[in-house]
Structures are given as structure tokens and as C-alpha cells.
């Protein structure tokens, strides 16, 4: 599935990933391939994802402070207001 992480200032990440975990405002949740369409707000917390063809231990982590995530047809779009690595 394709993941895009966007802030108003730039695109922080885009590419194929195997799994992604989001700090939803109602609790952390994970998205895998073929997830049902979803829109959720994000709270402050860690956003983790594993790039395709990478081992699970090569997890990327970003700190998100609020935002929205949309999952549709194996395409995840994260709109965050600010991101720290």
C-alpha cells in the first residue's frame, strides 16, 4: 500500500509500505494491506511504518502533533500540521 505523509510545508514521505501504525485520537491503531476505508483524527504521538521489502526492525518513526489520516483503496494519506523526526 502507498503511504503519503504531508504537512503544509512539504511532503515528508511517500512510498510503498507494508504496515503503518497511527496515534489515533481514540487510540493507536495499525493499518495493513486492504484495510477498509477509514478517516480518523490523529492525536500527538508516534507514527510508525515499515517500508516495503524492509524487515520489521527497520521501522521508521515520526512524531506527529495532530492531523488527519485517510485510508482508501490501499492508499494512506496523512495530513499533519507538524512532524518531527
Amino acid at each position: 500500500m502507498y503511504l503519503e505523509i504531508i504537512t503544509p510545508e512539504r511532503i515528508h514521505f511517500e512510498g510503498e509500505v507494508d504496515e503503518a501504525t497511527f496515534p489515533g485520537s481514540a487510540g493507536s491503531f495499525q493499518v495493513l494491506n486492504n484495510h477498509a476505508p477509514l478517516i480518523s483524527t490523529l492525536g500527538k504521538g508516534e507514527l510508525r511504518f515499515v517500508k516495503k521489502k524492509h524487515k520489521k526492525s527497520h521501522e521508521n518513526v515520526m512524531i506527529v502533533d495532530g492531523g488527519v489520516v485517510e485510508v482508501l483503496n490501499n492508499r494512506i494519506i496523512v495530513l499533519a500540521e507538524s512532524i518531527e523526526r
Binding site: 504531508i6 504537512t7 503544509p8 510545508e9 512539504r10 511532503i11 489515533g24 485520537s25 481514540a26 477498509a36 476505508p37 477509514l38 478517516i39 480518523s40 483524527t41 488527519v68 485517510e70 482508501l72 494519506i77 495530513l79 500540521e81 507538524s82
Partner: protein, 295 residues
């Protein structure tokens, strides 16, 4: 006839002025490119956010949108006036001030008379202009252009939104220069709050996909609307910033051309004067020689 030394001095000073305007033009061109880049960078976010908002707000009762969408009786008004920090950019700032006065005269004359019109200047030029005149000025964010990033814009937008929410202002408008192209800026007066409701009549919100919405539709809409307001302000500021650099570039280009023109005239005068002086000297010598021969 002008004095030779004087003309030489003027040529020198015009030349150095030209050098400055040329450099300023180049700097503005570089800054313009950066400003345009930032506008381009921001677009994907704005586009996605808009489509998201449309997906979510399908079928949501406008009442639930919250305060930001509600029209109120206009008792007090906030005008956000966006100018530049520095001058030498042609009519960029002057046009804004004109548009603001026109807007006040046409729509808010009575509000102004009651002293319920506040101006939130952004950019030093606007701050200086309105502070000296008889306006209520909120000078909280006038230095924002010093370091224009989303963080500070977010703060500003939150400030404006919360004062609208608390009923301090019943209407917020933004006056700014829109970037059309390098040489052209369009003055815009836009209503910021309450959100002007755009009802798309042709496709009355078709939401094809059945999303899982978390936490709930209403909360999502309430979360997304402030975000889109922040983005709107950010976009406006980036536009104005690019427009400013464009205006400055054009103004400085013209100044450089004018200096060229001036130099041409001055050189002509200089050479003419020099020629006249030489002719005069020769005449004097010939005259003197003839006088000697005659005697």
C-alpha cells in the same frame, strides 16, 4: 551650460544607484523563486484536505459545523491587512491601503464610527500606516513576515478563530495581494469568518465511499474545518509574499531602466559641454593669434 564637474558627479551617483537597483532586482528574483516553490509545496496538502473535507462533510447538518459557519449580525469587524515589511516594491502596499479604505467606506462606515472596527496588520508597512492614523490596531502579529512558516501562521489563525468564536468580532476579512504573475498583483478582499458557505448545486455532495469514521462525523468536521482555515490563511500569506517579491522585482527593473535613460541624457550633456568648452578654448587661441598678427 552645465558645469562639467557637476555632470560627472551626477553620472557617478546615478550609476551607483543603478547598481543598487539592479542588485535588489536580482535578490527579489531569487526570493520570488523561493516563494513560488513554497506555494507549490503547499498545494498537495491543501488539495487533499479539501477533498477530505468534502468526503466527510457529505450529509452533515450545517448546524453541527459549529460557530465558524454561522452568520451573525455584524456589530464588530476585524480586517486582516497583509502588506510587506519593506518598501521599494512599487504600488504594492499603497494599493492595499486604498482597498482597505474603500472597503471601510463602502461596507463598514458605521462600524468604524462606533469604533468597532479593528485592524490586524501583518507586515511592518501596514503596522506603521495604521498606527499613525485613527484606527484600532491589534499589533500582535505584525512582525509575522520576519519568519514566515506554518507554525506562526497557525498561531495567528488560532488567535483570529478564537476571538471570532468568543464573539469579539462578528466578521473577519482579509485584504491582500494575490499573485497572478510576476508583473501583476490582484487586490483581494476575502471573507475569512464566518466561512462563506459554498453550496455546490451541481453535485450535492455525493459520498460514494463508506468510510469508517473515527471518532465521529461531527467531531471530524469540527476538527478539519479549523485546519482548513489555517491552511487558507497560510496560502494567503504565501500568495502575498510571492506577489511582494514580484512587485519589487518589477519596480526595480523599471528603476534600472530609468537609470539607463537618465545616464544616456547625462552623457550627452557631458559630451556636449566638453565639446563646447574645447571649441571655446580654440576660438580664444585663434582670436589671440590673429590679434597679435594684426599688430
Amino acid at each position: 551650460m552645465a558645469n562639467l564637474k557637476e555632470v560627472r558627479g551626477r553620472i557617478k551617483s546615478v550609476m551607483s544607484t543603478q547598481q543598487i537597483t539592479k542588485a535588489m532586482k536580482m535578490v527579489a528574483a531569487a526570493k520570488l523563486r523561493r516563494a513560488q516553490d513554497r506555494m507549490v509545496q503547499m498545494r498537495p496538502y491543501a488539495r487533499r484536505l479539501n477533498s477530505l473535507l468534502q468526503n466527510v462533510s457529505a450529509g452533515v447538518d450545517p448546524e453541527l459545523v459549529g460557530n465558524y459557519g454561522k452568520e451573525r449580525v455584524v456589530d464588530s469587524v476585524l480586517l486582516v491587512v497583509i502588506t510587506s515589511d519593506r518598501g521599494l516594491c512599487g504600488p504594492f502596499n499603497g494599493n492595499i491601503f486604498k482597498a482597505v479604505s474603500q472597503n471601510i467606506q463602502d461596507n463598514y462606515a458605521s462600524v468604524q464610527k462606533r469604533g468597532k472596527l479593528t485592524i490586524l496588520p501583518i507586515g511592518k508597512k501596514a503596522y506603521d500606516f495604521y498606527r499613525k492614523r485613527d484606527y484600532r490596531v491589534d499589533s500582535k502579529f505584525y512582525e509575522l513576515l520576519n519568519k514566515l512558516d506554518f507554525e506562526i501562521v497557525k498561531e495567528t489563525a488560532e488567535y483570529v478563530m478564537s476571538s471570532f468564536d468568543e464573539g469579539e468580532f462578528d466578521r473577519v476579512e482579509i485584504v491582500y495581494n494575490e499573485f497572478k504573475n510576476v508583473a501583476q498583483q490582484i487586490i483581494r478582499v476575502e471573507q475569512y469568518l464566518p466561512i462563506p458557505l459554498v453550496v455546490d448545486e451541481e453535485n450535492p455532495l455525493k459520498s460514494g465511499t463508506d468510510y469508517i469514521l473515527e471518532p465521529s462525523k461531527e467531531l471530524l468536521v469540527r476538527e478539519i474545518i479549523p485546519k482548513s482555515l489555517k491552511i487558507q490563511l497560510y496560502k494567503t500569506l504565501l500568495e502575498s509574499n510571492a506577489a511582494e517579491q514580484g512587485a519589487r522585482m518589477t519596480a526595480m527593473d523599471q528603476a534600472t531602466d530609468n537609470a539607463d535613460e537618465l545616464l544616456k541624457d547625462l552623457r550627452l550633456t557631458y559630451n556636449r559641454t566638453r565639446q563646447a568648452a574645447i571649441t571655446k578654448e580654440i576660438l580664444e587661441i585663434v582670436g589671440g593669434a590673429e590679434a597679435l598678427q594684426a599688430s
